[in-house]
Symmetry: C2
Subunit: 266 residues, 2 copies
Amino acid sequence: MVWCSRETSRLLCPIGKIKSKRQQAIADREQDLLVIAEQIMEREGFSALTMDKLVSACSYSKGTVYNHFNSKEDLFCALCIKSMKQLLHLFRRASHFEGHHRERMLAIHFAYRLHAMTRPTLFLCVLTAQTPAVREKSSAERLQQQTELDQEVTKICTSILEQAVAAGELTIATPEYVDALTFASWAISFGSNALMSGDCDSGVIERLDAEKALLFNVSLLMDGMGWLPLSREWDYQNSWQRIGSELFAAELLAISDMDKAPISQF
Amino acid sequence: MVWCSRETSRLLCPIGKIKSKRQQAIADREQDLLVIAEQIMEREGFSALTMDKLVSACSYSKGTVYNHFNSKEDLFCALCIKSMKQLLHLFRRASHFEGHHRERMLAIHFAYRLHAMTRPTLFLCVLTAQTPAVREKSSAERLQQQTELDQEVTKICTSILEQAVAAGELTIATPEYVDALTFASWAISFGSNALMSGDCDSGVIERLDAEKALLFNVSLLMDGMGWLPLSREWDYQNSWQRIGSELFAAELLAISDMDKAPISQF
DNA sequence: ACGTTTTTTGACGATTCGTCAAGTTGACGT
DNA sequence: ACGTCAACTTGACGAATCGTCAAAAAACGT
């Protein structure tokens, strides 16, 4: 009957950053717990992640775990946040790609796809965290943190768009159109990745086609924006590969290793 | 420990369509159950939907309910299917809109947005059903039916695209590009709607701006496809309104009534 | 009317969730 | 060094939920 069983987690952690050694230890432990939770999901499937299982897999007691996450859903939300933080790091790297601004935005999309591929489990946590069942039962703090991360991501995209406008690559009617364009970019990327993740079993989209599809979709959208150089004037396939080799060589190597020895893809 | 507790539901329902009066009755009952499940979600929230609650809210016993849905997740999958069927009906209507083909495709997107607005609960079921936790525990039959519906939807989009090509509104390099364009359309619509549903609480996107954003995103994408007439040559804002008044007047009326007396919006 | 097949029932065992009173820890003042 | 106390941890516990199954009921065929 209770809507949100416990508003905040019990662990004292004032408002800003970590203060004492102790709170650092608590924060570290939280990361440990998230890693363990992720491992359980990868090993036994998504629905096998249970609070009881997490408790017995870690070296702490139930109460302690519940001091970190006030419900199973809150745990999912925490995993989503972890995922978004990683994504943010990739985005920051992508935003400094050497090239014109449209290529930089493309690098952002590359990073997103990369993240979906290298950390499928975490990526799916983001999808799961959009679900009302999860949102209803997550703590207010974590939901807040989630929207803050959202805004950070948005800021990166917005900034690239603004630079493109300043550089004359892109023309917009009014300043607030930047937000609309950011949203459109976000939507095409989210939509493509989400649908591809969902359908990867049913095989509508082949694994290797997925990257092509994303590049294709993004190119259409940016052409629609009139973002120069248009795809007919520039080889973005080549840009895509350059992004991979210049920015994310290590991550791509990890993927091909995964394919060779598929451990967790049952 | 069991991966998929029960492969098929126990109710005898061969392969094709309904045969006897009896099986018709069973199918009807299933629809009743879905309606009740939906009501529970609307009244008490998403996470309040419980098998026990569904059982006590309907006039049947637990065993009977479990003969229809072999798990809670399977129930979600069934709700998703119901949602997609409704969507399909709207799409069929949309695909006959009086206008050029780009307007027809726009009508499809309109229908999607409309569905997300008129039946938010069911729409969110689709989102939930994409979640691995749900997919892992749904019955094979239902997952199958889901992909079939997916294909039907795809077929409608594909058909419009092909007609557009035939009419000279759209030029494509090779025939299989039609699939890529269909996927792109689907992705932008899914992405936009999903993000807007998720953020509607946090207020990044205002309720009334949502429609504008979708129209905007779709227009960008179609312009990128080079689908004539381009948005600078045609007033699609006007088309959008025409679609509303000529095709979905009844549904729009229902929405404005909802706004006046918001019953189920918690 | 009677045997067979299909469906329904609801009590039951197994899981999972989330709580809380009692116990432990360690930071801090003296 | 020691006592104190707030903060943290523990794990047994009750409640809620899940999904099953043997027995009862209903439907069906002859």
